[in-house]
């Protein structure tokens, strides 16, 4: 028999999305509302036209050999989650075939099927059964599961009294003890504290060394690189790279960087309501020139250019997250969490400025995701809105040099006290 665990052949998934209709005036909108049940019927009964369809996956083909760990990466909306949902049989493809040899376990969420009113013990059985374990199997592994989760003391407490961390631990513990030959995993490692994440990563590489096949979808390039040996890079529902994990990751990173060369206002890889759009980002040091280069320990300024703030629109907050090149978040800023030194300035027009007094990032390259929120909705969200470099400098007199970002991306002001040596 062949050594192939997963074979995907020309897999396609089409979604029907509604046409966005601009409502004009109260009268018109009332008319539309009254007619909506009929319009609904007519739109469902006829075949969808091109602008109503979204090809979440468009002719995806690949094979995974037994014992391989395949990392699936790509931007939001590239089709990663759709691929996972199809392989997990949560929904059916529009066309194409996928064949999986062996028992399949899908882990798309931690704590699937947990009921808040039931105890931890009861939920272990419930969640285990939902994930496809036999009762006898759960009974056999019960003690192991509870030990792995580290919530022994609360196992007979309803889980609504658990902290979110405890719930995640218990959920992962159940899932980690699934023993399928093919395991499908979605981003679940993005939760829990660092220590627990490490435990999960360990458990996963253990799974891989046992000769089982894993398909792992993630945004975390570091985790993908350390766990997977093969990579699949999806873009707009198509396979762009199918090769080693390093090939896939470097293509992905290059792609993100290339996008920032484009004019921000022309980019359409964004989400949100769209009443306010981010059209530009300037990142400057003290010199106030948009150099996109900062110096460790020096002030830094992030200027966000918005296209407009329509009348009647309340700009609630602008937020952004700094990521390192491995896709790990480093720091988060939100103008909605107001501080004493925050000010308002009419002369700014549609600019929003965030000033960092002392940049505590170590030298390296970073990118930011920017979000704009107004009138209770996310108005705009752009991933990889800008890139910037941080050059070597000093933090309070201590030189900070470039290091591998695996050792962290932030340097906190500190000093040492050392024993005198003679």
């Amino acid at each position: 028999m062949s050594n192939i665990a997963i074979r995907v052949d020309n897999l396609t998934k089409r979604y029907r999305i509604g046409i966005i209709q601009k409502e004009k005036g109260v009268k018109r909108s009332l008319m539309q509302r009254a007619a909506s049940p009929f319009r609904y019927l007519t739109t469902t009964l006829r075949p969808p036209s091109d602008d109503e369809t979204l090809w979440a996956l468009n002719g995806v083909s690949f094979e995974v050999d037994r014992g391989n760990v395949l990392g699936v990466i790509g931007r939001n909306g590239a089709g990663k989650s759709t691929l996972l949902k199809l392989l997990a049989r949560i929904t059916e493809p529009t066309s194409g075939v996928a064949t999986i040899h062996g028992r399949v376990g899908a882990l798309l969420e931690v704590g699937t099927g947990f009921h808040p009113e039931l105890t931890g013990r009861e939920n272990v059985f419930l969640s285990g059964a939902i994930l496809g374990m036999r009762r006898s199997e759960i009974e056999r592994k019960f003690d192991e599961i509870v030990a792995f989760s580290g919530v022994e003391r609360f196992i007979d407490t309803p889980i609504k009294y658990y902290s979110s961390g405890m719930r995640v631990r218990l959920g992962f513990a159940v899932a980690a003890h699934l023993e399928p030959e093919v395991l499908l995993i979605d981003e679940v490692l993005a939760v829990g504290d660092a220590e627990f994440q490490k435990k999960c990563l360990g458990k996963m590489s253990e799974v891989a060394t046992e000769g089982r096949t894993v398909l792992f979808v993630s945004h975390n390039m570091a985790a993908v690189q350390s766990l997977c040996n093969r990579g699949l890079y999806l873009q707009r529902g198509k396979v762009l790279v199918d090769g080693s994990i390093n090939d896939a990751v470097s293509t992905y990173l290059k792609m993100i960087e290339d996008r920032t060369q484009e004019d921000l206002s022309l980019r359409n890889d964004r989400s949100g309501q769209g009443s306010i759009r981010l059209v530009g980002v300037d990142i400057t040091d003290q010199s106030e020139m948009a150099a996109m280069t900062l110096i460790t320990g020096q002030p830094a300024k992030f200027v966000f250019h918005l296209n407009q703030i329509p009348t009647g629109m309340v700009l609630e907050y602008v937020d952004f997250t700094i990521y390192d090149l491995q896709g790990r978040p480093v720091a988060y800023f939100n103008s909605g969490d107001t501080g004493e030194k925050d000010t308002h300035d009419f002369s700014l027009g549609t600019h929003v400025v965030c000033t960092i007094d002392e940049l505590l990032l170590i030298p390296g390259r970073y990118r930011i995701n920017v979000g704009i929120s107004g009138n209770g909705d996310i108005q705009d969200h752009v991933e990889g809105a800008a890139f910037f470099n941080v050059e070597e400098g000093q933090i309070r007199g201590r030189p900070v040099v470039a290091r591998n970002q695996r050792l962290g991306s932030v340097m906190l002001p500190h000093h040492w006290t050392l024993p005198e040596t003679r």
Partner: protein, 289 residues
């Protein structure tokens, strides 16, 4: 690690478990075998439904018994004492409780299964299993209410000097009919609820209307003779009448006659059609929900 353990861990994938994922076209089978495969999950979902409901209520599971008792008190007061609806010379409390057994079950089972797909969206969108078991779990978990109500009935029987009757052996059959009826209505409504959230509002009205069209608060003898045949095409009419006959004797209801079997036939056909439509919808439920 022993040799046998090693052999187990690196065992070849069982070629018999090969999953083929592709679009199905047209009508597929009912997948009853698949439901049997997942029977453990079905039991757990029923148990979750039952355990979850009465947690953190002061009275806990006693609600199971309180509900029918309170219902009977209200009905007896309003329809037995104030309105004086004929109850074929039987105490109105017995008359209404015997009808509330199947009706109370039916309405709670329909409510649970009609909303089951939407309410369990969190599981449906994350794991594969035959979706029908979630509707079936909703229907079957209502049987606990029926058991409790029946227990109440058994307890009050001596107070009314009511004998145990041989016809009571018919009760499991009538119960089965009520389960099938609830499953039929539940499957149809659950299928519709995926696309139209209106179902959540409509189901209450529907149940209310159906209650007035069934002999719950009045006897069938109140129905005009010319309409009786049409009236009895409602399977719940025959089921309720059957419960009354089995529990209280021929004065209260009548044994299943031709119209009962006709209504059962119609129900059976609708059940099978409903199940097939449900199967057709279930493939892409997640895309619509």
């Amino acid at each position: 690690m022993t040799a046998s353990e090693f052999g187990k861990k690196t065992s070849l994938p069982d070629p018999s478990i090969t999953t083929v994922i592709q679009a199905t076209h047209g009508w597929s089978s009912l997948g009853l075998k698949d439901i049997w495969e997942y029977r453990e999950l079905l039991m757990l979902l029923i148990w979750r439904e039952i355990r979850g409901v009465y947690r953190q209520t002061a009275l806990g599971a006693s609600w199971l018994f309180l509900r029918p008792i309170l219902n009977v008190i209200v009905l007896t007061l309003v329809f037995g004492v104030f309105v004086k609806i004929p109850s074929n010379n039987l105490p109105y409390a017995l008359f209404s409780l015997s009808a509330l057994l199947p009706w109370g079950y039916f309405s709670s089972a329909v409510l649970r299964s009609a909303g089951s797909l939407v309410q369990n969206m969190d599981i449906i969108s994350k794991v594969y299993f035959p979706r029908m078991i979630i509707a079936v779990a909703g229907v079957l978990s209502g049987l606990v209410d029926l058991m409790a109500s029946f227990l109440v009935f058994l307890i009050i029987m001596p107070f009314f000097k009511l004998p145990l009757r041989i016809e009571m052996l018919w009760l499991p059959a009538f119960t089965l009919a009520a389960v099938m009826m609830a499953l039929m209505v539940g499957l149809w409504l659950a299928t519709l609820s995926v696309r139209y959230r209106d179902v959540a509002f409509a189901v209450n009205f529907l149940l209310q209307a159906l209650m007035y069209l069934s002999p719950v608060i009045y006897p069938i003898s109140s129905v005009p003779k010319s309409l009786v045949f049409l009236y009895q095409l409602n399977p719940m009419a025959g089921i309720i009448d059957g419960f009354r006959w089995a529990l209280l004797g021929p004065a209260a209801g009548s044994p299943p006659g031709t119209t009962f079997w006709i209504s059962m036939g119609i129900m059976g056909v609708l059940l099978v059609i409903g199940a097939f439509i449900f199967r057709r919808t279930e493939r892409t439920i997640v895309d619509v929900l």
